[in-house]
Amino acid sequence: MEPVNAIELKGVTKRFGEVTANDNVNLTVRKGEILSILGENGSGKTTLMNMLSGIYFPDEGEIRVNGETVTIRSPKDSFALGIGMIHQHFKLIQILTAAENIILGLPGSGRLNMKQVEREIAELTARYGFDLNPAQKIYDMSVSQKQTVEIVKVLYRGADILILDEPTAVLTPQETEKLFAVLRNMREAGKSIIIITHKLNEVLELSDRVAVLRKGKYIDTVPTKEATVESLTEMMVGEKVTLDIHRTKPEGVKKRIEMRGITCRNKEGLKVLKEASFDAYSGEILGVAGISGSGQKELLESVAGLQPIESGEILYYPPEGATEKISGMKAEDIKKLGITLSFVPEDRLGMGLVGSMDLTDNMMIRSYKEGGKFFADRKKPKKLAEEIVSQLEVVTPGVDTPVSRLSGGNVQKILVGREIAGNPTVLMVAYPVRGLDINSSYTIYNLLNEQKKKGVAVICVGEDLDVLLALCDKILVLNSGRVAGIVDARSTTKEELGLMMTGDGEEKKADE
């Protein structure tokens, strides 16, 4: 008799109206293995996992868990079957401790024995090599620690099958290594792990087998040993693609933006940027690296005139004419000076675009003030929307579709396309490829490189250090609101950047 599989999907199909998100998918997850699921945006990875975790219900097909056919109607059913999902966005209560979050919602006797709970958690963490203090409050934790809490939470509930949705997207290289070590320990203990990721080198490093989806269809599952970056990409995209970022030497370099000693506070009054200084030059890509929440957002927003500044100044050096001080100005004032700063914010649908509006109206966000006095011009924005759709191969039913209906990658293409169309002198992008598949990512990298060649000063906040190293000319590293250093991207290493991102410099003592 062959061994029983942890999960077997047979002919699973899920449709949303006209769109078939999963088409006749067959997939097996063995006991005690790490399976990666690869696929481009909109290939149906998340839909598939959501059916396992009880969020969606399949239209056709059957799901077997440990050899038995099951019906998963709600997340509760999924839990009862021992399936635990760790989502990209953590669902934790900030003011409770790790242990309190872990037992939240579990049935138990009337009296709560916190000591015993903590002992049980300590047992779990010791077994798999987690680094976790059960009594620590969530708001005191780093992103990686919060993720640990989420994983321990599902283990504590007795999950044997763990699904992780892009777990490394927010981690530093060092934290990623730690996570992988823990996942390997869990595999040794016989747990099955499904990991959704876009990073091919992680797939190759960690998993036993790789399953590939393409446009909702299941392509194949291959043992990782037999796979290479090239072969996997080909399976995902359906054709051979070249994965080179063509970095050219900067030409005609001139200073465009000068930031001097900028300090600013967030809404809670905490200092999020501490005396940050840097220069950005035309014809260069300046990368910004750092653990998420180290001040990247504020760095870009203070240049864009969206962040109140406590002290310091920002100067703009135009190609011709006099230097302008743009700190203390609002976005509209900067625009009135005729300075075209393009900005692709991190929060695409919360800042860069309006989800409920169609493509045309979203193009107008930058240009609606042009033209006549009373009526808004929709002809030019419509033409621009059509151009972007055809040039960047945006998948959309038409330019009248609300942006929120499009997949993440297409939303990003529209935002980047609009910002580049403004012919900027400075282009700031925050996490331009977050959640994007390989093909779209390289489209965006090429667009950034084209802008650089045109003499635009590009500032790019990124999370994938490999990409920053290959794309940028210089890399600025942020460490809890301070500029830890600006290094040459051609000569530095991932490890050096990782250390700068997390290192406890002596200056840290002087905080607050």
């Binding site: 949303f16 109206g17 006209e18 769109v19 219900f57 239209d59 056919t69 099951v70 019906t71 998963i72 109607r73 059913d77 839990f79 009862a80 079957l81 021992g82 049980e120 504590y156 509930r157 007795g158 864009a304 969206l306 609002k330 976005a331 509209e332 625009k335 900005f343 914010p345 929060d347 919360g350 800042m351 860069g352 675009l353 309006v354 989800g355 409920s356 509006m357 109206d361 107008m364 966000i365 930058r366 609606y368 003030k369 006095k373 009373f374 009526f375 808004a376």
Partner: protein, 368 residues
């Protein structure tokens, strides 16, 4: 850490699936079925409670609303007032500024109108008086909309509470004015203003008593439709309503948009006060607004802020209201009987939106 496996092995009997698109014909078909079902349900309720023939009750409602020429015109007059208020609320609601202060804005507009009719009635020719009344009533409503807007823009106060409380302030202002305008003395009411010369009354247009009311509101309706859909201001309002962050990013002055839009919203609601006082009742009391500031919220939401759909919705609500007066006297029923019928109709109409957005799927194989 133990767990029980209590998972059912069967597919759920019914489940919902979101529809991507639905043809227009199918959507209207669903709505038609909803109306028919609601009439049947209401008939059952009528028979059960009143033992009356439901068909006769329905006919009574129709008779009450449009049975005679005069009744039909009253229905139209009340419809355009409700429509005007809903139109006024639209820009504010589109901006997600929850203006529930239309009552107060109407009262202030009505008070300004009454004041001009009383004090300037003899001083100005009627056409000039009416123009001054239009401007003054809109200005009074505008001030009542401006106050909460300034506080919202400057200090981010809660506009819902603020506009609600201003309703009571407006009521007190009217009560105070009645002290001076009492006629006859001691009645504590204002009575018909300018009954002798009809000074400040809307004149008949093309021989129709309420012609001017209809024309003015029609112009406003088309105007707001164009303003919201095609103008730069309308675009700014939508962006601010969806996300203030995006608005700032787009270089929109959020504070200015909030203040400007609430001035417009208040002005139109104030003008509705003039429609009521100058164009219909020719008197003023604390119940001049009569809850219409709140009913208009239902109109605006049910129409999904489409000014043309508002015509239908406000006509429907007023139709039922006018019909209820008739059946109350004809069958000796309480006026609330019509509210029950309206409630049943609304329940089905709003409920059917679920079937327009979702589709039910039934278990295919029973033995799975």
């Amino acid at each position: 850490m133990s767990r029980e496996v209590t998972v059912a092995k069967r597919e759920p009997v019914v489940r919902m699936a979101k529809r991507d698109t639905i043809s227009r014909g199918k959507a209207w078909g669903i709505r038609l079925i909803a109306v028919l079902l609601s009439l049947v349900t209401a008939a059952v309720v009528i028979v059960a409670i009143t033992k009356q023939n439901p068909v006769e009750v329905y006919l009574g409602i129709v008779d009450g609303a449009v049975g005679t020429n005069r009744r039909a015109w009253v229905t139209i007059r009340e419809t355009v007032v409700l429509l005007c208020i809903a139109i006024g609320l639209t820009p504010a609601f589109k901006m997600k500024f929850w203006n529930i202060g239309a009552e107060g804005q109407i009262l202030m507009g009505g008070a300004a109108t009454a004041a001009l009719m009383i004090y300037a009635g003899d001083a100005l020719p009627n056409w000039l008086l009416l123009i001054v009344i239009f401007i003054a009533s809109a200005a009074a409503g505008m001030v009542w909309g401006l106050i909460p807007a300034i506080f919202k823009a400057k200090y981010n106060t809660n506009e819902t509470l603020f506009t609600l409380m201003l309703n009571y302030v407006a009521m007190q202002v009217v009560t105070f004015c009645i002290v001076f305008w009492e006629n006859p003395a001691g009645s504590n009411t204002v009575g018909i203003i300018g009954a002798a010369g009809q000074k400040g009354w809307f004149p008949p247009v093309l021989g129709i008593t309420y012609g001017l009311n209809v024309i003015l509101v029609a112009v406003l309706t088309v105007g707001i439709y164009i303003y919201m859909k095609y103008s730069k201001h309308g675009y700014e309002i939508s962006v601010v309503g969806e996300s203030q962050n995006t608005a700032r990013y787009a270089g929109i002055n959020v504070k200015r948009v909030i203040i400007r839009t609430m001035m417009l919203s208040g002005a139109i609601c104030g003008f509705a006060g003039c429609l009521i006082v100058s164009g219909a009742s020719h008197t003023i009391s604390t119940s001049t607004a009569g809850g219409r500031g709140f009913t208009a919220i239902i109109v605006a939401w049910m129409s999904k802020f489409n000014p043309f759909a508002m015509i239908l919705v406000s006509a429907f609500l007023v139709f039922m209201q006018q019909g209820s007066i008739q059946i109350a006297s004809q069958f000796g029923l309480n006026e609330n009987a019509s509210d029950i019928i309206t409630g049943i109709l609304l329940f089905f109409l709003i409920g059917c939106e679920f079937f327009i957005n979702y589709r039910l799927e039934f278990r295919k194989n029973r033995n799975a």
